[in-house]
Symmetry: D3
Subunit: 186 residues, 6 copies
């Protein structure tokens, strides 16, 4: 690998580091002072995408992979809340991604653009699992903030639930809404 390629990967890696600091902005409107980062959200989306895919007979690793990159554009455009919609046209995530991967060597650039393109097109089962995982993660986080005392999360639960497209995701949502965030401790 050339130094230019290595340097491009390093630069892109530093850019992805912004996701560790960027906060999920919708929760500020609910009243959460220190909400989770986009990176924290994205990791669980990827994990959930794999679980949904496993149950839907799709490819878990591919579904997780699409999820891994689904918010990676936010290093440049941040996490825009729903209230911004009347005032801003939604940016084209594939276009942002293409600019982001410009310093990457060819194979690395291609794998990221392909993943974002497939996610945005929403035509494969893996893309649908990844998108359902995105909504489901938000719903689960809303339940967790409610468990920590936060009021006003119902709108987030409702809009996330309404956006689910697979039966598996809806059933997991139903379960998450009625059991404790500490249920895993047995």
């Amino acid at each position: 690998m050339t130094h230019t390629a290595a340097s491009g990967i390093a630069a892109f890696t530093f850019e992805m580091g912004v996701l560790k600091r960027l906060r999920r902005s919708g929760w500020w409107q609910v009243g959460v002072r220190d909400p989770e980062s986009v990176a924290e959200h994205s990791l669980r989306v990827a994990q959930l995408a794999a679980l949904l895919a496993a149950e839907e007979g799709a490819d878990p690793a591919r579904a997780a992979y699409l999820a891994l990159w689904h918010d990676s554009q936010e290093t440049r455009i941040t996490d825009l809340p729903h209230t911004a919609r009347p005032y801003l046209t939604k940016p084209d995530n594939v276009a942002v991604t293409k600019d982001q991967v410009a310093p990457l060597p060819e194979a690395a650039a291609a794998t990221v653009v392909d993943a974002v393109t497939e996610f945005e097109a929403q035509e494969t089962p893996e893309a649908r699992c990844a998108r359902d995982a995105d909504k489901l993660e938000c719903l689960v986080q809303a339940v967790e903030y409610r468990h920590s005392g936060q009021d006003g999360v119902q709108e987030w639960i409702d809009s996330s639930y309404a956006a689910l497209t697979t039966d598996v995701a809806r059933r997991v949502a139903d379960a998450a809404l009625t059991q404790s965030p500490m249920s895993w401790r047995g």
Copy 2:
């Protein structure tokens, strides 16, 4: 899907949520008061694993997938720093994972256990890319903390670098050590 299966996925998802709060403990020893979470670390490890795999001719999605679960055991055992080694025997991550996935339906459980087993065995190119990504992410984060003023990160840089096994990862590390964390901004 049965309600039991859905409830199991929900419980496991809540458990993964602990990774959003769990801090990377080594940085406390360096002096960082509010270090990044294990989830934040893991997301970038998965992203980096994909990039390394793309350049190594391995499967990016698979490498990312192994990375996605590589620290997921820490919900139960936390992130143990190197200083704990003389006093604690390293837990068996596959065993922890098997307990964690107990509530999951069969296909979901299998995909997670397989990923952790493959990562721990370190016999496939994807496993090696994921492990190199784990070390490289730590090195990149050390550079970022140094950029934020933190002294004393050199030991983390050195031990991460020494553990790298692929030429690609070493070259990215070399680049990251000499360019600015803001180099992506052009």
Copy 3:
């Protein structure tokens, strides 16, 4: 005052509360994990606007007043960093403000819209002082983050400095760049 008017003021006040939680997003790109809020920025912009106006022979209270509302639209559209510009058209702040003040009684609504309109038009000395204060506050904060160890703030200093339009603001910037953030302690 009718209950509807009082309720409108209460709702608008709750909306302004979002500014207390919303972070200044550019600093995340520099590497600051926990940057100041938009409210914290805005308060010092207003204070600085008054000081600049006093020295420029403009009305300090009016300049401060324009500054007080200059980022108030960000409750809905958040703080967009420069990197978003190629992908998003800048929203019309007066239009956002008009939607925000819709629940306010007439006099209250008018005073806010007038202030935002005057600030955006940049035709009065007070508007110019407020805008210079906005840039100067960013420069001063950059110096403070550098004092706390953060590297990479120079771009923010340079772009803020370049945007200053009054001689007074430039001289204060020159001073801030060469003296300690603790110089006030004597």
Copy 4:
């Protein structure tokens, strides 16, 4: 402007920066681990002062201006909670302000001292609106902390409400106590 004057404004601006870090101490007694800063409080007090003045037929910009400086002394004396009163005599805010503005050029110094003096005297409608805004902001914040799960805020609501002097402020308080902090989202 002389360099001494510019340097004085820079020093004073650095001092005002302490308000961005200083926390409102009363909330620690209630149980809030990470309460808002004095700067965050002050910004909304200034915004509220303008709204109250608009409805009271007073000057919104002037009322906001008095609010802008009403806690600026706390850079030196911090935010003293009510429990300190039996042990400490309340400092003279005008005296503190005069020391703070010592490095400022004459016009800048005068505008700040005049504002603090007018606020402390409580003889103008604008001073009364600013003081009511101070109390009302505290009440609204108490409602917001309660919305985030915090118990024990009633004492802050009651004492803030009891201190209100204008009918407009009381009516806004009544509304804030019965509607959701998210009511602005429509």
Copy 5:
């Protein structure tokens, strides 16, 4: 004192500084994003140990002293939650302490080792008061987190209560469970 002795005390003091950053990990499982540090816990344990000892007719200063060091090993092994127990053998705190005090001069080393040894042996009234204080502090903190809106703390209350061995501690726990965390404000 030799320079080696002074340097050893300095090194040990820096090590104890890690307790200021280390978080109490169990609360992450409950859902608390920013829980208190081990140092914050330890201080109140020491204070409570003194109060319990005073009422039990034991030596308050000695009981507090044992509490002061009871978690000091966690600089190296961190705070392991209950869920780690099936996977990790509990480290020997006296052994960790002996390694920690290695750089200290003799008298200083001995006083710390003696305190940890006495606490671990649980044979003196002071050791029992210190251990009860450890459990009681956790219970009181659980009540405080519940007061801040956090659900799911009951398990921590129950297990802490069950571990109490003195009648005094149980009576204080009974009181803490039924009165407000703000009861001290009168």
Copy 6:
């Protein structure tokens, strides 16, 4: 123990919990956004007091005990920075303590008042070790903040050093100023 006594201990314990949230205010003036709590400071002061006493031939447990309570009054009066001195008369810590312990049963109240009284009088070796530990802890923390990139801590180092009264403390300070905060890791 009567219920009144138990309830008094519980109330006092809740009051001490405020120390876990209260920040050390001087660091805000230096530029530290999230400084350590008074509880975190106090724990290490107590540990250091014991080490100094061990080397001075004084009673380590007694010295630690005095340190344990030396800032406990700050639940009511907060941590006043040096800049407040011209405007506020220093409160009488023994008087504050007597009010704080009012709900405690007799023996518990006496042990706290005795400790604060002995510390304030500064007539015993243990009181001097505790006070030196207070200053030394501040100096060590300043070194740690400098290690994390913070500039401007020299004034804190100098004033802490100048206040040291024992040779042992001065030698430890000398060592702390020249070795790394990570020197304990070997």
